[in-house]
Amino acid sequence: MSSRPDAETGPESDPDAETGDEARFAGRGLNRVEDRRILTGEAEYVHDEAPDDALHMALVRSMHAHADIESIDTEAAENHPGCHLVLTAEDVKADYNPMPTGLHGFEEWSLADGKARYVGEPVAAVVADDRYVAEDVVDLVSVEYETREAVVDPREARENEVVVHEDVGTNVGDHEELSFGDPEEAFEEADNVIESSYSWGRISGVPLETAGVVADYDRDADAFDIDCNIQLHTLVDDTVYETLGYDPDDVNLEVPPDVGGSFGTKIALHRYCSLAAMASKAVDRPVAFVEDRIENLQGGDMHSTQREYDVKLAVDDDGTFRGLDFWFVDDFGAWPRYPVNQVLKPLSVLTNAYDVQDARYEYDLVLTNKTCQTAYRGFGVPAHLYALEMVVDEAAAELEMDPDELRRRNLVESDQMPYELPSKNVYDSGDFPAALAHVQEKIEDERDGGLLDPETVAEKREEGKYRGARPTVHIEPGVSGSDWTNRQRSDRDELDERDREDVAELPEHLRAEIREDGTVRAYLATDSSGQGHQTLVTQLLADELGVLPSDVDVSYLDSVEAPTEYGTAASRMAVMLSGAAQGLGETLAANLETLAAEVWDCDEADVTYRDGGVHRVDADGSLSLAELADADDDGDLTRASYDYEHPATRLEEFDEALARKFPVYPTAAFAANAPIVEVDANTGEVEILKLYSLRDCGTQLNPTIVEGQAHGGLAQGVGAALQEEFGYDDSGQPQAITLFDYRLPSIENVPEMELDHTETPSPFTATGAKGTGEGGMIDGPASIACSINAALEPLGVKADRIPFTPNRVRERIREREGE
């Protein structure tokens, strides 16, 4: 890596330069309140939580992808002096329930029951004095298997020659064909139909912290306390209490303030929570479990989707897009993991930034002998945008048009905003052509003596190094509604009859209290894993209440205290928390005015809340927050909570999408990217020399955090595009079970990024913010693949598989050479 911007040009943190409004903290790049405890080693991750008297759990996992479990002999294990417990499916079935699954008709137990369906599937759980001993004990459990043939290829799985679940009878867990507008006519009438196939590999978030849980059963209360780094703990707590067969109030899930990354992948940790809880009840001691990295990569329920696409684009000779047609297979793995399926979200950005009104969308959700699929940053959208941009590149080649011109011609114009997609979601605001023009200019500059100078490019080509860049624009759909997410479990015929009133969305809850010293304590009802939610709420509440951020601290509610929440997912929190903070601030201020009027025995109209206290309008006098807290005998008025409704619930623009259970994402953050890549035709290696990006997430509440999210997302996009993948061999053996094989991008792989930001506030949200958590992972892979296409144009090679690893690049080049 050559030169980088110096430290001074890092994230802008000069407050006044941002807003010109000295009084407000929102909009400033405030440093995070979370940092100090992390930097000093005082952070509290779940791996640190086991109490001294805790025992430790380890799991016996299947080494076969598909095998009948003939017998399990636990005697030697139980005789080990350090062993306290061995659990098998038999024990679980005697006392507990199956785990909820993502589709009806599947009965999955916390431990494999009779048959193992993927390598790494837990077959038995042992509890011992410590993890070292527990692993000794694991080795003593002997399981006899009768192996079967495995089904690995998702296209092949549709043939049902090997069936993963005999009782279900088919590997196609779900199938749907959706038609919007009149795609048939569009494809018939268009001058050209471009058609191609693309693959998207199994890639996932792989947070640096693995899963962990400490469960403690309270015999007197017949209830559980479970500390776990599960994501969305107030939403998916049903996966734990239903499995245990307990009342929601008796299963208290708590997430520590610090979580070492999730990116969607930790939504499905319920098996670990339940097993540790069952074990704790059996041994009457706290039971801790920390997943190790091999378990995590092999069978940790955290792989994301694998997709096989056949895509068609109907396009006229002049380059006008007429229709789009997506057919794909989504590989769910061995079980339809609850509550996740990622096939629908792409409908919210069906045509990306292009103006197309006729489209078809068809998918098969298939089961294979692989680790179960869970969510990952972007939730199915990255693969969709990749497939779409690939076919656009293909069209440019076939029509012999400049790809930039082809894209530009079809972009939604800013005067078309808000723009309704054929699939009924609505883009709130944005200027896509301007964003594209911005990065095009950067690329033009590079042609003038820079990285893409024609002379340099030609020289490099002599050495077999091919450079290229191709600007693209991408939408990052933000702020999921929740109702559509159970489309798979709904009667589809009934959806046509549904009314808007049948739709219930989940708000975001925030509460706060004024403490006696006049400081404010707020409580988040959701968990965070590095996004800085505490900082965000601190700065927003400080603004609303006219106090300093140092007067506000923020902690978390557990699953019993908090209402059922959607929480941290789908780039939701900037929008939802800022809306909630605004509403909460107003509610508290009004309460405090009432309180002050009581103290002064005057009319409420004669007092006003401002600058951290209530002031008399008609006379001298003011009450500080500390004085108000002191005056509030029963604490009613110095405490408040607020639920910020999901923005789509108030907007008729979304009525049809909501009623029909099409995915609703009311904010359209967007990015235009132009990675400059260099492909070494000799080694197949792709290096990203520089990455230009123009990003817009509406109002930026904390530009430092916004920039950080973009860097991180783009780095994951780089990994996805070029090097990460959970491969499997034909027998279902996973090929990436260490970090030597699952290649996370290191500092050597991530390019220099030059990001610019514009702010197009959302008209649909309280603060104008749009989501920004998933950005770079959504748009990175597609844009990198397009730049690879540009670079390899002279060789006639396309980046038709993600990740486009060196051996795949070489394979494609060899194929062309052999032609």
Binding site: H84, Y132, G530, T738
Partner: protein
Amino acid sequence: MSADDTSGVIEYPTEEISLSINGEEVSAEVEPRHKLSDFLRDARGLRGVRVGCEHGVCGACTVLMDGRAVKSCLTYAVQADGTEIETVEGLADDGALHPIQESFHEEHALQCGFCTSGFVMATKELLDENPDPDDDDIETGLADNVCRCTGYQNIYDAVHRAADRLETGETDADETHAGEDDA
């Protein structure tokens, strides 16, 4: 299912080690199979030592052993006998963040923070050896650590800033405006 309480019956062999941890002399009995990372975390309560992979790739467990960065998950506690170990807990001076810590904070070079102590310790080794690293030096110096959240750009900036601070001798406590933006 069996729930017999049999704990304490088994005896594993142990060895005695003596070492210095963040300047404190420590003696302990450890099992030869215990990793240094587990020893520091469990027996010494130094939870700033994080384990992300336990097979030597991620660098979250990086500590300094006699001044050199080592992966404590690939080191057995018995191998640390007679050495000086430094962990992230030893850096802050009387509550004032070490310049490296302060720079990571100011440059937003951490998100979830799980990699952070490893990066901070690797940076310390780098800057101890090379007080004025350029980007290539930083790339080489930190290539053994993985961060899944930040995309590294801010980490470069943090290392440069830390180098500047160390050069000028500026610390957290010296900087009158330090923490102004801290909420």
